[in-house]
Symmetry: C2
Subunit: 359 residues, 2 copies
C-alpha cells in the first residue's frame, strides 16, 4: 500500500493537497455552470463535475475522519451528501428512461434490432473466459431474422407502456431539474460553496494529521477496505455464481419492499466500493484505478440502475385505468430488469473472484 508514497510527507499534507484539488474542481464546475446559460449540454457537464467533486470531498472527509476536525468535517460531509444526491436525480431519470425504452425495443425483437446485435447486452460477457474452450458452434441465430413485428395486441401494449413510462419519467426529470435549480439557488448551497472555497486553500486538521502519511493514511484506507471486504463477505456470492438462480425475481409478485430489502446489501457494497476507489485516489492521484475493481463497481452500478428501472416499471403498472396489454408489457419489462439485476450480481461475483485471486 505504501509504495510511491513520499515518506517525508505528513498525512495531513497529502490529504490537504487532495482536498484542495477537489475543491478546485468544484469551484471550476460552479463557474462553468454559472456561465452555461441556455447551453444544457454545458450545464449538464458542469453539474457532473460538481457532483463528482462533492462526492470525492465527502468521501475524503469520511475515510480520513481521524485526521480532520470532526466538528467541521461531519456537518460539511452531510451537506455535500445532500448536494450530490440532489444533483444526481435529473441524470438518473434520463438514464432510467433510456434503459427502459431500450429494453422495450429489445423485447419487441425490433426497433434497435436486439436480435441482430449479439453483443448488445453483454458487451463483456462475464462468463466468457471460463468457457473459452467450448466449440464455437453456430453463433448466428437459427432461422431467418424476424421481420418487424406486425401490430398485434402485445406490441400495442409495449408501445403504450413506453408512452406511459416516458410520461412518468419525463415528469420526474422535470421535477428533478427544478429541484436542482432550486438547490443551486438556495442559501444552503451557498453555505456549502463557501465552505468548499475555504477548503481550496485550507483544511481543518486534527493533531493525528501530523503523523507520517504512510502510517496514518494507510490505517484509514485499510479500515475502508475492511468494511468493504466485510460487506462483500455478507453478500450471497456463492448463490450469485450460479447463473439463472432467479433470486432477483423471487419477490417479483410480492411487495416492492421485499425486493428492496434483497437489493440493499448490494447497494451498500456499491457505495463502499466507490468510497474505496476515492480513498485510493488520495494515494495515487492521476493513476488509473484498478481495472477489475472499476469493472466490479460498474457491475454494481448496473445492478442499481436495473433495480431502479424495475421499480419504475412496477410503479407504472400501478397507474389506475391502464389497459391489460400495457400492464402485461410492464410485467415483462419488470421481470426483464430484475433479471438484469441478477445478471449484474453474477458479473460482480465473477469480477470479484478475479480481484480476490490477485489479492
Amino acid at each position: 500500500m505504501s509504495e510511491g508514497l513520499g515518506g517525508r510527507l505528513s498525512g495531513g499534507d497529502l490529504l490537504a493537497g487532495y482536498l484542495h484539488s477537489r475543491a478546485g474542481d468544484f469551484l471550476r464546475g460552479l463557474r462553468v455552470y454559472g456561465e452555461s446559460g441556455a447551453d444544457t449540454a454545458s450545464a449538464e457537464a458542469a453539474a457532473r463535475t460538481l457532483r463528482g467533486a462533492a462526492r470525492r470531498i465527502g468521501g475524503g472527509l469520511h475515510t480520513f475522519r481521524p485526521l480532520l476536525d470532526p466538528g467541521w468535517a461531519d456537518p460539511f460531509r452531510t451537506e455535500l451528501g445532500w448536494l450530490s444526491g440532489t444533483l444526481a436525480q435529473e441524470h438518473a431519470c434520463t438514464a432510467r428512461l433510456h434503459r427502459l425504452l431500450g429494453a422495450l425495443a429489445r423485447l419487441s425483437g425490433g426497433g434497435t434490432g436486439g436480435a441482430e446485435l449479439p453483443g448488445a447486452r453483454t458487451e463483456t460477457p462475464p462468463g466468457g473466459p471460463l468457457l473459452a474452450g467450448q466449440p464455437a458452434a453456430g453463433a448466428p441465430l437459427s432461422g431467418p431474422p424476424p421481420a418487424a413485428p406486425p401490430p398485434g395486441a402485445l406490441t400495442v401494449g409495449a408501445s403504450r407502456a413506453g408512452a406511459l413510462l416516458e410520461r412518468q419519467l419525463t415528469l420526474a426529470r422535470t421535477r428533478a431539474h427544478s429541484a436542482t435549480l432550486q438547490a443551486l439557488g438556495s442559501s444552503r448551497f451557498h453555505a456549502v460553496a463557501d465552505t468548499v472555497a475555504v477548503l481550496a486553500s485550507e483544511v481543518l486538521l486534527s493533531p493525528l494529521a501530523e503523523a507520517p502519511a504512510a502510517e496514518i493514511l494507510t490505517a484509514s484506507v485499510e479500515a475502508t477496505e475492511h468494511r468493504l471486504l466485510d460487506a462483500v463477505a455478507a453478500l450471497p456470492l456463492a448463490r450469485a455464481a450460479h447463473p439463472y438462480n432467479s433470486d432477483a425475481l423471487v419477490h417479483g409478485l410480492a411487495t416492492a419492499s421485499d425486493g428492496e430489502a434483497q437489493d440493499a446489501p448490494w447497494h451498500h457494497v456499491r457505495r463502499l466500493l466507490r468510497m474505496h476507489r476515492y480513498a485510493r485516489e488520495v494515494w495515487c492521484e492521476g493513476l488509473p484505478p484498478d481495472p477489475a475493481l472499476r469493472a466490479a463497481g460498474q457491475a454494481l452500478d448496473r445492478h442499481r440502475d436495473a433495480a431502479e428501472a424495475a421499480a419504475a416499471a412496477a410503479n407504472a403498472a400501478r397507474t389506475p385505468r391502464i389497459a391489460p396489454a400495457t400492464a402485461y408489457a410492464l410485467g415483462i419489462l419488470h421481470a426483464d430488469q430484475r433479471h438484469e439485476v441478477e445478471a449484474a450480481r453474477y458479473a460482480f461475483q465473477q469480477l470479484w473472484h478475479q480481484t480476490a485471486a490477485h489479492r
Copy 2:
C-alpha cells in the same frame, strides 16, 4: 460402438427382439389400462407405459428403416406418432399447470418458500464445477427471511392469474382426457393395437436385415447420431454459453410466432436426442443410458416445458376483460418462463460441452 454385440446375430434378429419386447410392454400397458376402471393413478401409469412403448417402437421403425419393409413400417410409424401425441396431451396440461402455479408461488416470495430453498431451481447448478474455486462467501440471503407478503395489488394479481391459468389449463386437460378416451375407443386405435399384437411375435424385415448386426445396425445408429450432431451444430451454442444473454426473451413483446421460430431448432434437437437414446437401447437393452446425454435431454425437456408454459401465460394474458394486475402478473410469469427457457439452453450447452469432451 460394437462392443458387447453378439457377432453371430443378424441385424434383423436383434431389432426384432427389441421390437417384440416393446410390443409386449404396449400390450401389458393396454391390459392394465383396460382393468384400471376408476383408478386414475393406475390408468395414468398405464397410459405412460403405452406412450413409452409407442414412442420406442416408432423410433425403432424410423432409425432402422432400411432393415424393415417400408410399406408396413412407414404407415405404422405415422399411427404410433398419432397415438403417442394424443396420449401426451393430458399429462402435459397437468405438468404445465403445476409449473406455472409453482412459479407464481416462487415469484410471490412465499407459498413454497422459494427464498428458503437455495437449490429449488438449480438442483444441479450447471455452472457449479467451473466455479468450484470461488470463495464460499455468505451463501444465505442477507437480511431476515421475508414474512408472507401482505395482500397488495400485485399479490392479488398473482392469485387472479393463478385462478385464470387453473381454469384454462384444467379445461384443456379435461379436453385432452376426453380426446384420449375417444382415441382409445376408436377403430383407428384398434388397428394400431392389432398391428402391435402382430409385432409381438413377427417383424416384417427387408433383405438388408440379414446382414450382421454389428454392421447394419451400426450404420443406422451412426446415421441418427450424425443427424443429431448436425442439428446441435446449428444451435446458437456459443451464444447460449453466455449466461444472461436474454436471447430467449428477445421476442417477449413481439408476436408469439417469433418466439416459436427461435425455439424450433432446440425442440428439433430434443426429438433427435430422444431418437438417439432409443436407438442405443436396441444395442444396450437394460443398460442405463449415458448420464450426460440423459441430462442433456432433460435440459431440453425443461426447455420445451418452459417454452410451452410461457406461451400459456401469454395466451392467458389475451383473455378479454382481465384486470391490469392480472395481466401484469402474467407478464412477469411469461418473462420468468422465457428465462427458464434461456437457463435450459445454458444448461444444455454446459452438458453438451461435457459430452463433447468425452467423444
